[in-house]
């Protein structure tokens, strides 16, 4: 009887914990992702305008410079080791922007480096980023043909 009561207590306790814990962290996670993602967007906009005025180029070229800068920073910070902590804290706030693409490549590269230059680094560098390229290219090819057929270019 005591054991049953104990189990009931435990079940009730777990129910209460499950009811309260995930929703709170979910909301928090979503908020952090929103803020960090937004900050990266603003950094991108600021960099684009800075490059456009410094180098006297169009904003379209400046946005390419901006993307390369973000990729460089994400790659460097991943190699230095503290970007992983940021990603575990911000999650999608850093994974969805282009920084996540660079992070996945550099972290895969550093992790598999010890297995050699060909079968380690070479074949694993796109381990995580490969899905982005594969599905991006396939969908772009498919939708491109669709648009050519429907709208004629």
């Amino acid at each position: 009887m005591l054991l049953l009561g104990d189990m009931m207590e435990k079940k009730k306790y777990e129910e209460i914990v499950n009811k309260h814990k995930p929703t709170e962290t979910r909301g928090q996670n979503a908020f952090i992702a929103f803020v960090t993602g937004g900050i990266i967007g603003v950094i991108g906009q600021v960099l684009t305008e800075c490059y456009a005025s410094w180098f006297d180029i169009s904003s379209k070229d400046a946005s390419t410079f901006m993307l390369v800068t973000l990729i460089f920073l994400a790659s460097l910070f991943t190699a230095l080791g503290f970007f992983d902590k940021w990603v575990t804290f911000c999650k999608c706030g850093l994974i969805i922007p282009i920084t996540g693409f660079a992070h996945s490549m550099t972290s895969a590269g550093i992790e598999y480096k010890k297995e050699g230059p060909i079968f380690g680094l070479g074949s694993n560098i796109f381990k995580l980023a490969g899905s982005v390229i594969l599905y991006g290219v396939v969908s772009a090819w498919f939708f491109g043909i669709l648009r050519l057929i429907i709208m004629g270019g």
Binding site: G41, L76, A102
Partner: protein, 116 residues
């Protein structure tokens, strides 16, 4: 104003990603792949171009712009070359990003070690 738009749009995309990540069994890899497909789908009928006009770099930073750039380059080439142009121009606009990621990754992996 464009800064606020950038913040809101890029934040919103990340928020959607985080909500999907927390509430479904999909991993981060699934979500980035889905977002790239969504980006290329939105650009099929030039919707993403309109978004970029309004929010600036906020729309270029998320991974959705990768899909957008892929199909944008492909369609630009396809207007000259027809169906073969889709394959010829696919990486025209994303080349800088992919090349930068590969080169920087290679350089940094030469100098840094894994730390566990």
């Amino acid at each position: 104003m464009i800064y606020i738009n950038s913040f809101l749009f890029c934040g919103l995309i990340c928020l959607i990603g985080q909500v999907i990540l927390d509430n479904t069994k999909l991993s981060a890899g699934h979500i980035t792949a889905i977002f790239v497909v969504v980006g290329s789908f939105l650009d099929t009928f030039s919707i993403y171009d309109q978004i970029i006009n309004h929010v600036g770099a906020g729309a270029l930073v998320p991974i959705t712009s990768f899909g957008h750039s892929l199909i944008h380059g492909a369609l630009a080439k396809a207007s000259d070359m027809g169906f073969m142009g889709i394959m010829m121009g696919m990486f025209d606009l994303t080349a800088s990003g992919i090349t930068a990621a590969i080169v920087f990754t290679f350089i940094f992996t030469l100098f840094f070690k894994a730390r566990n």
